[in-house]
């Protein structure tokens, strides 16, 4: 990077907040994709005005900016894949600014860690439902930029359902507000709506106003054991159609069950085709019990051989342990995990899982599946040996076929991980030329010089 630029940033932010040394470039070169791209520098803005000054300068000098939360993304959204300077909110802009009990709203900075918000509001009897698996380290800014989901989406929805308002800086340095601390607001275009899930490519979010709800008093966990994936998948959508909305409806297939058993020996049924884990919550125990009765009936009508309700928090935690540790356990099937998060309409889950099995057989790969079946979102993990180039090639071919099937079944490339660089090559499977043109037109309108996280999302 030109020393003129370095001097500008050091003067603007102080040397402690403008880093161009090798150590910082390495520390901010990675994310959960394990791909590495060293940025030209790392900036730590102290406030919104810093962000505005940085963007204005970068826009005038055509310097690429890559906004970054915790770097926990699975698709490379926070990677400096086209060079440029990383803008990190980790050091300063990471606070809860306000929890407004009267209106049940939290106002936070983008670098705030999700779990810190959850804990703070729960202490006040409130509840922030979006809980991505990365909740202990991922940031709200990243969650909004990727529209993160989580375990509770089946009942409570996802990040976008909780964003009431944003403050953001446009590439030209203009500071804008979008949305209000009100349930309803139809004045002007829904700018917050398009900034959510835009992967930091349209504007830099500097403040987020989130809707909170009252914390449900009780939660219960149940587990059903099924002879086949197909039987379990049928039970999923039939439960919803029976009028119960579980908080979570998660599944593990046989490969995932056995991976967890191999590693942790939790007593899961090794010969089961699949297990379903379901939480129900609410403020009345009778209602929870009534919901569990309905779930039990639907599960048994769809072939469940066992139905167990956790009798206390420890049993609930044991059941959830299996689900939470799947991702780690399945590494027994291969040193390279090609993990995707395709999503289909719930009724298409049986066919999706059937087709994934066929594709795995065709390409001779092992594909353990688990995930958020309550909202049709399946974590599909093609496991291959990193050192076997032919296997890696077959793995990627399998992924392409799986994407095609997801789209064919009316589904999407990504339920919660985003597109970034990892799925960019597949955008043309899901979108027409007209749709891609519209995305490019919008990108150009917000960011005519292409300085904000360029070349992501296939744009």
């Amino acid at each position: 990077m030109d020393s003129k630029h370095i001097k500008f940033f050091e003067k603007l932010l102080g040397e402690e907040n403008a880093k161009f040394d090798k150590a910082h470039k390495i520390a901010y070169c990675y994310d959960a994709t394990k791909k590495r791209f060293e940025p030209d520098g790392v900036l730590f803005p102290r406030c919104e005005q810093d962000v505005s000054n940085i963007l204005k300068y970068c826009n005038e000098n055509k310097i690429v900016i890559v906004p970054r939360g915790a770097g926990s993304g699975f698709t490379g959204g926070a990677l400096a894949a086209s060079g440029g300077v990383v803008l990190s909110f980790e050091k300063h802009m990471n606070k809860i600014l306000e929890i407004d009990m009267q209106n049940m709203v939290a106002v936070v900075e983008p670098g705030l860690i999700n779990m810190k918000l959850q804990k703070a509001v729960e202490e006040m009897g409130l509840f922030y439902p979006p809980d991505p698996a990365s909740e202990n380290y991922s940031t709200i800014g990243g969650n909004v930029s990727e529209n993160a989901g989580g375990m509770r989406a089946a009942k409570y929805g996802i990040t976008k359902d909780y964003v009431m308002a944003l403050r953001a800086v446009l590439p030209n340095g203009d500071i804008i507000r979008a949305g209000k601390r009100t349930i309803k607001d139809v004045a002007g275009y829904n700018i917050a709506g398009i900034l959510i899930a835009s992967e930091g490519s349209l504007a830099v979010i500097t403040q987020i106003t989130l809707k909170l709800i009252a914390k449900p008093k009780f939660k219960k966990t149940a587990m059903g054991v099924f002879p086949s994936v197909n039987a379990a998948m049928n039970a999923v959508y039939k439960t919803m159609a029976a009028g119960v909305t579980p908080v979570a409806m998660e599944f593990l297939d046989n490969l995932s069950i056995n991976a967890v058993e191999n590693k942790f020996a939790k007593g899961l049924p090794r010969d089961a085709g699949a297990i379903l884990i379901s939480d129900v919550d609410g403020s009345n125990l009778d209602v929870l019990d009534a919901d569990l009765d309905i779930i039990k009936n639907v599960f048994e009508q769809n072939g469940a051989t066992e139905f167990r309700i956790a009798k206390d928090e420890k049993e609930s935690a044991d059941i959830w342990f299996a689900r939470r540790n799947c991702s780690q356990a399945i590494t027994c099937y291969g040193s390279l995990k090609l993990n995707e998060d395709i999503t289909v309409p719930r009724s298409k889950l049986p066919e999706l899982l059937e087709r994934i099995k066929e594709i795995s057989a065709k390409f001779k790969v092992t594909t353990p599946c688990f995930g958020h079946t309550g909202d049709g979102n399946v974590h599909t993990n093609v496991m291959v040996d990193r050192d076997d180039p032919d296997a890696v090639k077959r793995g990627h071919e399998a992924i392409t076929e799986i994407f095609k099937v997801a789209v064919e079944l009316g589904g999407t490339l990504s339920g919660e991980h985003g597109i970034g660089i990892s799925k960019a090559p597949f955008m043309n499977l899901a979108f027409s030329d007209e749709e891609m043109n519209l995305f490019r037109t919008i990108k150009k309108a917000f960011d005519p010089n292409g300085i904000l996280n360029p070349n992501k999302m296939g744009l």
Copy 2:
């Protein structure tokens, strides 16, 4: 309109679907604002391809297009205020295409009347919550374009919370899809998010995929009588903060109560400062009763002198009659109603209502207020004598002050009616130059020739 254009449309759609006679121009010149602008013609597309052909031709020939549902809007969104051709979905594109029980989704055309959808899905045990006051005649396309609210928004949210996917035609004729029949979809920009509430100014919506939920089995209605508006407003946000989410939490002030009594003699307490009407619903009667207990306590703690629970559907209908007929009854206060739908954070309701009272006194106007206080949305009606130019002037001055107060309290110009032409002059009260520039940039990106509903929303 040039006869060349008339011939093109007649050939494309058939003469029965391309009308340029005086009778049609008059029939499509109005909406609920009572303003009148005769269009140059009225087109009735039969299908999405018709819409595409029309837009492509109009874009090439710079002919203005005004998409129109039922013409029931309060802000002129469907008025040909800058001339052009009205595009009506009333005749052909008005059907339910599919109700998908398995995924709890409805696919509909834009001209479908809201109530027809509600009835059709309720027969199947499902529920479509958004219920604008115009539900018996307004269309889903109009509801999406304005992001309509309704009586049930406090618990169930508004139109945007139910739109899963859209099909739409861009001004250049390109047909696009946005969103999927899935709970989660983070691939590409959230185009559906920005088309909602865009008042037909970015694209023409041709198909809408809506989320449905299970129909709640039971509903109960309660009414509280308060000595002052301030006491009632305090009770509203304290109820929510107590962990109850009523379906509706509606209010009538003293002027509204007396207007209803004058016209319908329903036995409402004429000396009350305000009444609150609240519905709770769910699938367990004990929970409903527990919710009503909490509401009763909060109401009484905030000075309610009476709390009544409707003992059957007839009593519930009687209570709701007062709320539903407010708008008509208050015409006793003046022949011209300047009605606005400002919205503030719930905790600001007491101050808002206090300030409206001061403004009414200052400008010597009568301002009955009622509305959806559960979501902070107050229908503010400045009533004046249409034939008294000074009173009309004072009325408009009062409205301007009321808008200023709403924005000052962190609220918005419109909770559900939109901006259209009526509120366009006030956009600069609510948005900065930078924000208005961004709106114009987005408008230009979608519609470079400015053919789609131009000059609305202050753009």
